[in-house]
């Protein structure tokens, strides 16, 4: 089936109006030799019912776990029913970027409200309308830091998500920047002395996450002081956005950019996407940050209204001199985050606390197993790393029982000598945690 309304009569009449006698004639500009002259080699078309059956079949080939013990950049949270109902409004999901402000006040106001929520959560002054994901938000903040300062060195914590570090390295390579890694200490935090030694006059930005990849909460203040002491900027990420419900806003602690993955706010894990990158900053970068920004203004009659603003930062105006090349962002995922935050409101603190309690319960329980012990001593949010005798065997056992196990740290962090990174959100029930511990005993 296709979605084309024309009848043959319509087509004939339109061809007459255009002055051609075949559809083929419309493609006369394509040299004959380059026309396909055959049908594409694709599976036969399907009726709607067949599509539904086929797609359901594919989804059914995935196996959803009884419960998941993995976070590592994607977090299972309960999504209030209101979120999916708002997202299903076709005025939102079938619209384009709100360039025509008069008929786009809905999304423009929603973005303005989101920007406000994010600045309050992160302790910043400006937040854009989203980046692609947490990794690209961090990479673009790094590139912007380097361009703004005219420096070419990025100093990145090894405790940042391994995939984020890879993305930053790809962007750095493309721009000819050097990337160096800061080791972590016994607490699982950035080793301050090492950072001091790595910083120099070429360093544009220090990139960290808190909670970091190991779930450990960093102390942002001293990191900001060290970076600023060398004239560099601090890009503070967060692994899990719900942690902002209880943690001190990174902007208040001195971060110049706050970046991170916003998926945990109302978006499903969905095999890695679509998610939304959060990017927020200080007043100093208001006219430089990448991506779309909505500003309040008034109309001809003095009524309050909203428009995309400061567009001279953007590619469609500035072309090669633009701050970034970003055009499409993750607007609908951003809308999910805004609705989620509106639903949770001050209860986000309660939810974040529940995550902390569950994680500490699971951490404590697993640490009673013979040979299992925390890898780090630092305070954690809802993730924690444990050394264990045989990580692969542990995950095999959990998988067999229908659980997604911990993230195996041995691939990306061989220096840890084997270990698993576990996550416990509000979705993980005590009985599952107890069951997991007994399975591993």
């Amino acid at each position: 089936m296709d979605y084309i309304p024309h009848t043959q009569d319509d087509v004939n009449e339109m061809m007459r109006a255009v002055g051609v006698d075949s559809l083929e004639a419309l493609f006369a500009d394509i040299p004959e030799a380059y026309r396909l002259g055959r049908l594409l080699d694709l599976p036969a078309p399907l009726a709607e019912q067949e599509i539904w059956e086929h797609m359901s079949g594919l989804a059914g080939r995935n196996r959803l776990p009884r419960a998941t013990l993995t976070g590592a950049g994607a977090y299972h949270h309960y999504i209030p029913a209101v979120v999916s109902h708002v997202l299903a409004r076709p005025e939102f999901y079938t619209a384009y970027t709100p360039y025509q402000a008069e008929i786009s006040q809905g999304i423009l106001q929603a973005i303005y409200e989101y920007q406000t929520m994010i600045t309050r959560l992160t302790g910043t002054r400006v937040a854009n309308a989203s980046m692609y994901d947490g990794a690209t938000a961090m990479a673009e903040a790094a590139v912007l830091s380097a361009k703004s300062l005219g420096r070419d060195r990025l100093v990145m914590a090894r405790s940042v998500h391994p995939e984020y570090r890879k993305v930053v390295k790809t962007y750095a390579w493309a721009n000819g920047y050097e990337c160096v890694e800061i080791p972590f200490d016994a607490a699982g935090r950035v080793e301050l002395e090492a950072l001091r030694g790595l910083l120099d006059g070429r360093s544009a930005a220090v990139l960290v996450q808190s909670p970091n990849f190991f779930g450990v909460i960093e102390d942002i203040g001293p990191l900001a002081d060290l970076a600023h002491g060398q004239g560099a900027l601090l890009v503070a990420g967060f692994a899990e956005p719900t942690s902002l419900g209880i943690l001190k806003p990174p902007g208040e602690a001195g971060a110049d950019f706050v970046v991170g993955e916003g998926q945990g706010f109302g978006n499903p894990v969905s095999y890695g996407g679509p998610y939304l990158g959060i990017l927020a900053s200080t007043d100093a970068f208001l006219r430089k940050i990448p991506g779309r920004l909505v500003g309040a203004t008034v109309d001809r009659e003095g009524q309050r209204g909203y428009v995309l603003t400061l567009q001279t930062r953007e590619q469609h105006i500035r072309r090669e001199k633009a701050t970034s090349n970003i055009c499409s962002n993750e607007a609908l995922c951003m809308l999910a985050a805004a609705v989620y935050l509106a639903c949770l409101g001050k209860n986000l603190r309660k939810l974040a606390s529940l995550n902390v309690w569950k994680a500490h319960y699971l951490k404590g329980s697993l640490s009673t197993l013979p040979g299992w012990r925390p890898l780090f001593t630092g305070p954690v949010y809802n993730e924690f790393a444990l050394a264990c005798p045989d990580p692969k065997e542990a995950n095999r056992r959990l998988e067999k029982a229908g659980y997604t196990g911990g993230y195996d740290l041995s691939g990306e962090y061989p220096e840890l000598g084997g270990g698993l990174l576990f996550c416990a959100t509000e979705m993980l029930r005590r009985e599952d945690m107890d069951n997991v511990v007994s399975l591993l005993r």
Partner: protein, 480 residues
């Protein structure tokens, strides 16, 4: 309309949190107090108020499901509903990106097959699905160009871009450390081949070409263009933003392109979501495949898995695997249409654009008077000269007629540009209604120009003060 913060009342709440089934320890005993926040300033509303707030906002927005949306170069086609349902299947949305491979075979198969379909449609050998949007795909493609020359041990510093190109092209090139050199267009709206020949030196890494270009015109000299670029060792990059004109009729790979990025949210019917999520897969010819981002899905027997074993890869451009939920919709779309349906897409998209062009030609001046592809570009110059009505006025007046305006003031080489892309999913009646509205506005411009200049008259807000917004930026609410 009031902001959500203005509707907030202390003590109200919507999202309830379950009681804890584990010990509730004071947070300060688990996390040092200095790392904890003091207050949390989020709005407090009851569920019904939140639902009404966002419903009212939705009613102040315009989507394809509300009405005709002929936004040039954006391919605002109808978004099939079954695809939305498919993307919401629990088996897709509930799968964690690090779920064991044994748990993920359905998603992996979908990704593998989708990459195969896109390769066939474009005449390319391999596709990556990792880039999250068209511009992200461009960046990935330019990185592949960079890697290609790095591997050859030759540094080339410049990439050529026609003056008709989308702004993302030069911005992507700049974000990859290349210089941009602009190629002029010729009198018939194509690339100026002589200028290209002059610019195409051994220092040029390649040409980024949108075909059909943003004037909606097919690059007639494509064979010669490809030859000039390849002879000097350059690569030919296709911005596939306008692929809706070509699917099933011709293939960029056959036309000589080495790299292409597609926009699944344009050609492959996935909704734009107010500006995202999109998806920008990148296809390449075999000789460039080793440079594609990792990880890549590989199939062995009937099993699928992720592989990072591509040592020449540019690396990662995004965490995880891309905008999976968007890919589900594009996959369902391709399966619904099949080969015949794909060709009907471009045939009808091109027919519709030419029909609108033919109907409006007596009333608006055409930028280039020749058969167009999926979109047609007019200029509002006649209206400016006759009555001082500008393209922006015409666009705003269309709002009063219930239509989303075309893309305006782009491409940059056309003054007062009006760029109309009807897409194939619109009926003749809809196109006629739109044309009647445009003709009526042309008449209003002559007879009552002040009416057109004061438009829109029927929208919830009137023309907004962009200058004030930029001069005194107010990008977050601080009054409460």
């Amino acid at each position: 309309m009031e902001l959500i913060f203005e509707k907030s009342r202390p003590g109200r709440t919507a999202g309830s949190v379950p009681a804890s089934d584990v010990p509730e320890t004071a947070l300060e005993t688990l996390i040092p107090a200095g790392l904890l926040r003091d207050d949390l300033d989020l709005p407090e509303l009851a569920e019904v108020d939140i639902v009404r707030h966002y419903t009212r906002l939705a009613r102040r927005n315009f989507g394809v499901d509300v009405g005709f949306y002929p936004l040039g170069s954006c391919t605002m086609k109808y978004n099939p509903k079954v695809n939305e349902n498919a993307a919401r299947l629990d088996g897709f949305t509930g799968l964690h990106p690090y779920a064991p491979v044994a748990f993920s075979q359905g998603s992996l198969r979908l990704l593998h097959e989708l990459a195969g379909y896109l390769s066939e449609i474009c005449g390319m050998d391999e596709f990556t699905l990792q880039p999250a949007a068209g511009a992200h795909g461009e960046l990935t493609g330019v990185m592949i160009i960079k890697k290609h020359f790095e591997k050859k041990g030759r540094k080339r510093s410049t990439i050529l871009i026609p003056d008709t190109a989308h702004g993302t092209n030069p911005a992507s090139v700049a974000l990859c450390g290349f210089q941009v050199a602009t190629v002029r267009s010729n009198a018939e709206g194509g690339i100026d081949v002589a200028h290209l020949r002059e610019l195409m030196t051994e220092d040029v890494a390649g040409l980024m070409l949108t075909n059909p270009n943003t004037l909606g015109l097919f690059e007639r000299n494509i064979e010669e263009v490809a030859d000039i670029v390849h002879r000097r060792g350059g690569l030919l990059y296709c911005d596939g933003a306008n692929a809706n004109a070509l699917v099933g009729v011709t293939r960029p790979g056959d036309l000589g392109f080495d790299i292409i990025q597609l926009n699944l949210h344009k050609t492959f019917s996935t909704p734009h979501g107010c500006g995202g999520p999109g998806s920008g897969p990148v296809g390449v010819k075999r000789h460039l495949a080793p440079f594609l981002p990792v990880p890549r899905v590989v199939k062995k027997g009937k099993r699928y898995r992720w592989s990072e074993e591509f040592p020449l890869s540019i690396g990662r451009v995004r965490a995880f695997y891309g905008n999976f939920g968007v890919m589900v919709k594009a996959y369902a779309y391709i399966r619904a249409l099949g080969a015949e349906g794909m060709r009907r897409v471009s045939e009808n998209a091109v027919l519709n654009a030419n029909y609108v062009m033919a109907r409006l030609k007596p009333h608006y001046r055409l930028a280039y008077d020749r058969v167009c592809m999926h979109e047609c570009v007019f200029t509002g110059e006649r209206q400016v000269q006759e009555s001082g009505v500008h393209t922006t006025d015409i666009a705003k007046r269309l709002l009063d007629y219930g239509f989303h305006p075309p893309t305006i003031y782009f491409p940059l080489i056309v003054r007062e540009a009006i760029m109309i892309e009807p897409t194939e999913t619109e009926s003749k009646e809809t196109l006629d209604e739109f044309c009647e509205a445009m003709i009526s506005i042309a008449r209003e411009a002559r007879e009552n120009p002040d009416l057109v200049k004061s438009a829109p008259l029927t929208t919830p807000v009137k023309r907004l003060d962009d200058v004030l917004a930029a001069r005194k930026p107010d990008v977050c609410w601080t009054l409460c």
